[in-house]
Symmetry: D2
Subunit: 389 residues, 4 copies
């Protein structure tokens, strides 16, 4: 069975998630398209990198990604670093002929994303962006219902990604609040996830019209641990620095196929921790999803007899997408790892089949254009066409 | 105890609801501000009017509202007719010095609404618009929580009113789909309810930016029963006529106090029957309401200890607004009638205190301006200021 | 149209609810089987009785029920008094040839209930017990689904009625905690409601096996207002008296048709205000109901395709039982009054058709036998057959 | 860092889950108490065993567990076989001085369980039973709330474990329906999980009183795949064999601390896939859990102000048990693997600390006694004391 050696750059939250998948994926998808080998892990200094090697089960470690991505024994480069280094690493890896899995958002903006796309297409390698939530079985089930026509023609969609980990003004000023490191705030961090999901389900965006806001203009300088998100201690007493990214946005959307809708994303909506979801209303039914109950999909079918119409709550299981690979009973508890394992499988399947993954860098580039249009609309206070970005 | 004689114009769905309240209100609010007397009911012909008298418990009936509203023994005129006759009846009643309860929306547009407002203010009578949903105990509880500062400063609001009774193209072309009778479609019918509720809770609208759509351009001509809504039979085989009002709209909102948000209203969202609701996110908490579970209010308070934070579901009862007047146990089932009874109480209380009701015609006029701005924005595809209408 | 004169005995919570129904029922069910006339109301002294006459809209009042129930101009006697007077009033009314609506539980025990049943059957009058919750549209819908075979043969049922208004030890010692007035505690008060509902849906009980408990052995003596339930002020500082009824019970059940199940009832389950509900599992599906969301019924049908199986949430509306008489849109808010109005309609329909109402005193007697068997099992700690009581 | 070599016996559903945990646990709990090494896996023939080695990432495989459990390089024996072989393997492993993790239920009955307990206690090894669901963060949070007194003294508990994968009579006759292989049916399979959870939260059982039933007396003989549960194809056309275990049971419980309650377990309740849950009512609050929404815990605290009382829904995250080891945001999706990883951590922690795991074989034995008492009560139709078993 083919083995593929992985170099993983970055060892934070995503590094942990990805390395687990490399180990676990074959047990779920046997025989796997290829067996991932955790070859080498890279972080910024010896202590972090060697610690990650032990903790995450890699064979080697390094501190210089430039050397690693060109190593002849490396097949795959996995980019888990903050957003501002994605482009440089990805372009170098592509030039070295490596397959690339890149964390989201793909780039700091559409220009950078386009350069990355050009690089991987020129190199002919497999490329994929880790918009993992579209890999959730319930989301794929929604896609299948839409494609089979069960809810008719799509009229309206509402998408949201609502978190609250930064609602407290004492949440530290991590890289996620700095434009030079993150590119944008809630927009790039969570907004692109919901943009990806809505685009995947409904179709191509034609134009957007947005309100983009920063609620908390400065935050305490970060000391100690890096990017602890909801587990960070909140302390507003020390010195502060400016936030130059968005905390939240809402946007209306016109789709190329005539549907309309809106998206909201925020990291400041108290009570919502990871509230990624959507509702889609069609001419023959509706679908609702909330990732906080990720194993459930609510479906209303107008073809039901009138006295038996209502949203039915499906629990994902063996009868649903990837169900036969996960657990033998619905409701046993598909979690975040399972979603990342499905993502991992799809990436290696794409490599085995010599094609881009889904979502590809092309999808990632398109999402960057949409994000740039949202930023522009927030300033212009007008409808902005995606094709202009 | 003071008794007030009522003339009710119109005997449809709202006529039934209002007449029940006149009978029931004193039992709930004893001693009542005044005792409503169901004096005379008016409909377009003898059969309808005399039938309504018997069915709804009035003393007399008539077919000519012009004669009725000037009768010296009438204290209150209750307008339950389609939207296109509100202004004429209300202005005549005001001139005759009657107190007026008018069904919503107040008027066909802001110009008409302004004339009605001027008439009642000139006459010095009590006036109130039947945006009944803001009288729901859970909604008033939300208002109290906001005013007491429990959720901090409001950042964002999402309001929606989603129904599905007209989603089927076979739903007949009742007056609700004709501009000359209704003024607008989902906007006036359900949109104004959610506009009223959001404005009541969050504050004055500064500007709107909307998408307004008609999904189903023609419908079967109506035969037989008038305005049966969800209970109408659906039959697409006969002759059809054009729909010249909106089926749905979405709008972004900027509020005068700096909050932002959006509203959606539709009568074509399968699976939602009377889905009037909102979510408000503040700097110290969040509140969620869905009228389909009208006895519940979800509240998240950031002041709770971190490991005990979460939306709590309050069931309205004796500890909540008007609870001591309704039923002795939370969860017993406050329904639509109870809400209309509270509305009735507030109307008669306003009469007894010699002041406008809440919401008054001034509120109704302001809501008409917002509705007109939404219509204009749907055409201009730009932000429209409410002050321009 | 036939008019029937009503004498209502008792003016508390139930007196308010019943009198509303007499006024409102014809508007919902037009033409009604008969028009109820609020003729005379009875309470223990002049102040209470005359106040109730005004507040509840009766023509006359009295303080001596014995005189009233024999009046020749009275057609219907409505018994809304505490449990210990039901038998005496009902038997006298039956002897006088009056139709009788009696609040639940029918009697203090099965012996008393049997005497009442014998009296009404001997008199040939219409008789009905106000187990109102089985009149809820969603419950009737459940009954129809069961009878049509949609969920197959019933295997198991779980019923519960959980309240919390007496969970606080400071809740005053009203008549509901005194055996001589109430007969039993949670068993008679809320337990008989859920027994009625389960028996209505599943069938005749064969035997029971129960745990019966009193959690709070004494409570503050009541001062001032009578029976305020959840709206009573809680004060534990004053003198106390003993509670000699149950706070809660659980019982297993064997049904005559082979089904099995259990019931729980309590007034001390914090967080449940009026949590009357059930789940029924059959060989082809399941049904769930919770009165706190009384407009919803959850139905799972095994005949659905496997990937679309799940509980669907039906919102009661025009397509469901009595829907055409209530409101024109599902989700508008059927509440407690609506349920009592349906009960009222069914009672007058039974009078018009010259037959017992449903549930009749025969049902009430059977429920008393079940309640007595539960009490006995709580003592014997053994299975007790209903036929032995 | 200490490494411990594992021999895993059995490679089905549980074998897959356990081997994932051995790989993933250190990444979550770094530094781990010890590093698990997947040394050798055992199944009944070469094909199964060698396949499992590759698929599950073990170094070696074998077909004879007797040889394996005595190997000097093995530290831990992990028993994932059907119930009828647990005792023999565990006793042999204990005699060889190995630490033991045994899948649930511990044994075929209490007698067997006692022999296993005696063996591990005599050997002084670490022993633990894989009642994994009590390792769910929300369940541990419930335990902490109870122990801290937040809900007061426990009055009543309702536990249930409801599945529906065997509700269809066409579900094949796997080992789970045969007494000689499984010992019991729903009782051992799912009932013991809920017994463990309720006992963990509420305390020691004093006596039980049960109804035990088999709804489907025969099932199609199994062909092909072993134990596919919900993913088995259902075909009733072929030859059938008898089911000699229970499909479902309900039991009342008296606890030693005076609490009372009941438990239900079934594999035939349509619509419930993995419906393990409980509700606990105390003198100061209530707690509700449903594993199908395993990241949520509903808590009602009577100490809240009356108008803010209600069940609050907590989403498990960094502020809750094990949260700092899992994911940095509540609601990200703790799933089945995460629970098993926590179990794995606790097992290795117990080894490192030289003590039994929790739950230990002593807990497993006590649960077997309760299960035996339930079986006996189902026959005797009487209360049975646990101390008699």
């Amino acid at each position: 069975m083919r083995k593929l050696n992985i170099a993983m750059i970055g060892t934070g939250f995503m590094g942990k998630a990805h390395s687990l998948c490399y180990s676990a994926m074959p047990s779920f998808f046997w025989p796997p398209p290829a067996i991932p080998v955790r070859k080498i892990v890279v972080d910024v200094n010896d202590a972090l990198a060697s610690g990650a090697r032990d903790r995450l089960g890699f064979e080697e470690y390094a501190t210089n990604w430039q050397d690693v991505v060109t190593r002849s024994d490396i097949d795959v480069v996995d980019i888990c670093t903050p957003n501002n280094s994605h482009a440089e690493i990805a372009i170098a890896a592509a030039k070295a002929g490596k397959h690339i899995l890149c964390e989201k958002p793909l780039a700091m903006d559409a220009t950078e994303a386009k350069a990355m796309l050009d690089a991987v297409e020129a190199a002919g390698v497999t490329h994929m962006v880790a918009f993992n939530y579209r890999q959730t079985p319930a989301v794929i089930m929604a896609k299948q219902l839409i494609e089979s026509g069960r809810i008719g023609e799509i009229l309206t969609v509402r998408g949201q990604y609502m978190q609250d980990w930064s609602a407290d003004p004492g949440t530290p000023l991590s890289w996620r609040f700095q434009k030079k490191l993150a590119g944008s705030g809630a927009l790039g961090d969570v907004g692109t996830h919901v943009i990806d999901m809505v685009r995947y389900l409904v179709g191509e965006f034609e134009s957007v019209n947005a309100i983009v806001r920063t609620h908390i203009p400065e935050r305490p300088l970060q000391t100690g641990a890096f990017d602890k998100m909801a587990s960070a201690s909140r302390d507003s007493s020390g010195p502060k620095g400016p936030v130059d990214v968005d905390d939240a946005f809402i946007t209306m959307i016109r789709f190329e196929n005539g549907a309309a809708g809106f998206i909201e994303a925020t990291r400041n909506a108290y009570g919502h921790h990871n509230g990624l979801g959507f509702e889609i209303n069609g001419t023959r039914g509706s679908i609702i999803f909330d990732y906080q109950r990720m194993n459930e999909l609510k479906v209303m079918l107008a073809d039901d007899p009138q006295d038996l119409q209502g949203f039915r709550t499906l629990h994902m299981g063996p009868a649903h997408p990837y169900g036969e690979h996960l657990w033998p009973i619905p409701g046993l508890g598909v979690g975040y790892i399972d979603v990342k394992i499905i993502e991992c499988f799809n990436f290696f399947k794409a490599i085995a089949e010599g094609r881009p993954g889904e979502p590809s860098f092309r999808d990632g580039y398109q999402i960057s254009r949409i994000a740039d249009a949202i930023v522009a609309s927030g300033v212009s206070q007008k409808w902005e066409r995606i094709s202009d970005f």
